[in-house]
């Protein structure tokens, strides 16, 4: 991934391009619907799902309220178990720490477990600049990396690609791909497996993130489906984990809740295939934990917005989002796309760019995301809160002020309605200026001769 999101236009522009791509829309529709239905099926099986959801929310809220205490507890537990803990306030600091740790081993190659935190900080690019090559080992991340592409989904980063496209990428970019490679899923997986096996056996350094960290025991937890994570976590001599500070859970027992919530919400599975847990350095490994802030304490300070830190990166909100389904992840210009990205990205990065300011508006507020969120993040409420903080275009500010003025007195509204009624025949089919956005694809309703309030006045509520 040699590209960055810097300088990307605002969401509506990116989205306009994406909705024109019929192949993309077809791929997305098929994939999101498959996972969406699978999730609904396995969530529906659990009679106590609402209770689990409330428990997940409560545990995360409690942890976030006491984050300072639990982080110290975690550091002590990891250190006692032979690990080294590093604190990184931002992306640059985290990348510096990781690069120095890798260099200290004398290696120039690392294997990676799929991790959102390392993508957020652009670790692969930072390592590349230091002469270190990072190899993604998750199948979808491998596809994205080989294709010099961006991930477009949190859970299935190559969701925008179909298997014919994946075959092309493998033949083109994977030197050891068999020449007769077909686009059968089994053949593609086998080619990737052989390609990666050699990397696992050679690697001396691995980099991961973590789904959860347990303050009580110093345990890190990684959930994955392919077994590549297990290889990375166990084979190399040095393991470096970069984890956001909000990934904490107080006790081992709390996993009981999250190991039910996460697989069912993300992959639609009852149980996660590969769950790896480790505390500190095991069996002669060097273990380093880099705790990443990168804007998180700022989010924590916002009373409404802080609930975004409960997120366990399951992607259920992406898979039900009608906007995401039509635009895909790239339009969001962030490693966090979809509804959660629309509230997380502007909070983590701030709203200084046109793109970041446009993200809270990339939603029809339909509420489907909130309904499926396993930790009950009220995404629509946070979106509305962020919209209030965004700088609005001048024309819109004037329009809203005018509407506000009219609505503050009912006589003004009545006068505006009478004026509209008189002008009703003069309203063009296609409106000019910004309102053409409505009439490009939709007719405007016929303006009535008489408003409801005028009718009520004239007929005394329909009695005359």
């Amino acid at each position: 991934m040699s590209k960055t999101f810097v300088g990307m236009p605002a969401f509506p522009k990116n989205a306009a391009k994406a909705v024109q791509d019929s192949q993309l829309r077809f791929n997305l529709r098929k994939a999101t619907r498959t996972i969406r239905n699978k999730r609904a099926l396995v969530v529906g099986e659990l009679a106590d799902w609402p209770g689990l959801r409330q428990a997940g929310k409560a545990i995360k809220d409690h942890t976030l309220r006491n984050l300072d205490r639990y982080l110290i507890q975690l550091e002590e537990a990891v250190t006692a178990a032979g690990g080294h803990v590093h604190w990184a306030k931002d992306a640059a600091e985290a990348n510096r720490i990781v690069a120095d740790l890798v260099k200290a081993t004398g290696e120039t190659e690392v294997v990676k477990v799929k991790s959102m935190a390392t993508q957020e900080i652009g670790l692969n690019e930072a390592l590349e600049a230091e002469g270190i090559t990072a190899y993604e080992t998750d199948l979808a991340e491998l596809i994205v990396q080989l294709g010099d592409d961006w991930p477009s989904h949190i859970l299935v980063p190559a969701i925008h690609r179909n298997r014919a496209e994946i075959r092309e990428i493998f033949l083109d970019k994977m030197p050891d791909a068999p020449p007769g490679l077909t686009d059968e899923p089994r053949a593609l997986a086998e080619a990737a497996r052989l390609h990666l096996r050699e990397r696992f056996l050679r690697a001396k350094v691995a980099i991961s993130g973590a789904n959860f960290m347990i303050a009580e025991t110093g345990t890190l937890v990684v959930l994955e489906s392919e077994g590549n994570g297990r290889m990375c976590l166990t084979l190399p001599r040095t393991l470096i984990s970069v984890v956001g500070i909000e990934k904490l859970l107080p006790t081992w027992r709390d996993l009981e809740v999250f190991l039910q919530l996460l697989p069912r919400s993300s992959t639609g599975e009852r149980m996660n295939p590969y769950t790896s847990t480790w505390a500190g350095a095991t069996e002669g490994q060097d273990f380093h934990l880099v705790l990443l802030d990168n804007g998180r304490t700022g989010v924590l300070a916002d009373e409404v917005g802080r609930q975004a830190l409960r997120c366990i990166r399951c992607s259920a909100c992406l898979n039900v989002c009608p906007v995401y389904e039509r635009t895909g992840g790239h339009a969001y210009g962030s490693v966090y796309p979809g509804p959660i990205g629309a509230i997380l990205t502007p909070q983590l990065r701030g709203m200084s760019t046109e793109l970041d300011r446009s993200l809270p508006f990339a939603s029809s507020l339909c509420g489907a995301c909130y309904e499926v969120c396993p930790v009950a993040i009220d995404i629509p409420t946070v979106l509305v809160e962020l919209r209030a903080k965004a700088r609005h275009p001048r024309a819109e500010r004037l329009g809203m002020a005018a509407a506000g003025w009219v609505f503050t007195r009912s006589v003004r509204l009545a006068r505006a309605q009478r004026f509209g009624g008189r002008m009703r025949r003069l309203v063009p089919k296609r409106l000019p200026g910004p309102m053409s956005a409505w009439t490009d694809t939709r007719d405007i309703p016929d303006i009535p001769r008489e408003s409801f309030r005028a009718w009520w006045d004239r007929t005394e509520g329909g009695t005359r």
Binding site: F361, V384, V406, T408, W438
Partner: protein, 242 residues
């Protein structure tokens, strides 16, 4: 019971027929309807577009206008959801049937008022047409209207209710979203329209005219011949006309 009608700015200005249908329907069911003339807008557009100051002013105005009433009936799922779900947080308003409050006024979307307060599902309507129903997001996931509208429609004589595929999916209106993100909005509506057409229904019904304005505007642009009607307009229709 003193029942006030909050007509909503969209209905008042663009769809007076819906308001008249609500009045006809409620009178037929023996309800004394009042229309406080000082009412204007609930403030949803302002709040949801990021103007809480202006929206909050309109919310306080709403609370002043409807202070003396036990019940306020709103023929719009999203405006009812705005008042009940957002006012408590926005201006600390005590809405009678919002969670954790118990004073007047209580705010009902029309179908809630009919089914829960009046206890009727058969309102004596006659509408001999094929109808499909779009539940709208704020009615479905905000107010949780559930099967109330369906029960009301099923009891309309002559009416054939045709299930709408993908009914729970957003139509892409979303207030100013329809203009700010017009391409995504239109793409969402294209799929909604496709589903509506696949039902073979003559009429698309919903409990919210803003969504219907969006879907209906697209249907009309495509010259589909399918009419859109607010739930109240169907329920107000009887055998001898209204």
């Amino acid at each position: 019971m003193r029942v006030a009608l909050f007509i909503t700015c969209v209905n008042d200005t663009l769809f007076p027929g819906t308001g008249q249908a609500v009045v006809t329907l409620l009178r037929r069911l023996g309800v004394d309807v009042d229309f406080p003339p000082a009412q204007t807008c609930c403030g949803q557009m302002h709040v949801n577009t990021g103007y809480p100051k202006e929206g909050g002013r309109l919310a306080r105005q709403f609370m002043d206008v409807f202070a003396g009433y036990e019940a306020v009936v709103i023929p719009s799922g999203s405006c009812a959801a705005m008042v009940r779900e957002q006012y408590p947080r926005l201006i600390g308003a005590a809405i009678g049937n919002a969670p954790d409050t118990s004073c007047d006024p209580k705010v009902y979307e029309l179908s809630e008022f009919l089914v829960d307060v009046l206890g009727v599902v058969d309102v004596g309507a006659y509408f001999p047409h094929w109808v499909t129903y779009h539940p709208t997001c704020h009615s479905l996931r905000g107010l949780r209207l559930g099967d109330r509208p369906r029960k009301l429609l099923e009891n309309v004589r002559g009416l054939e209710l045709v299930p709408l595929p993908g009914a729970e999916e957003c139509c892409g209106f979303g207030g100013t979203f329809a203009v700010k993100n017009k391409d995504v909005s239109a793409a969402m509506c294209a799929d909604k329209v496709g589903n509506v057409l696949s039902t073979g229904a003559e009429v698309l019904c919903a409990a919210d005219n803003s969504c219907l304005m969006h879907i209906g505007g697209t249907l009309r642009r495509q010259k589909s011949g399918i009419r859109v009607m607010h739930l109240a307009e169907i329920l107000a229709t009887t055998e001898g006309g209204r």
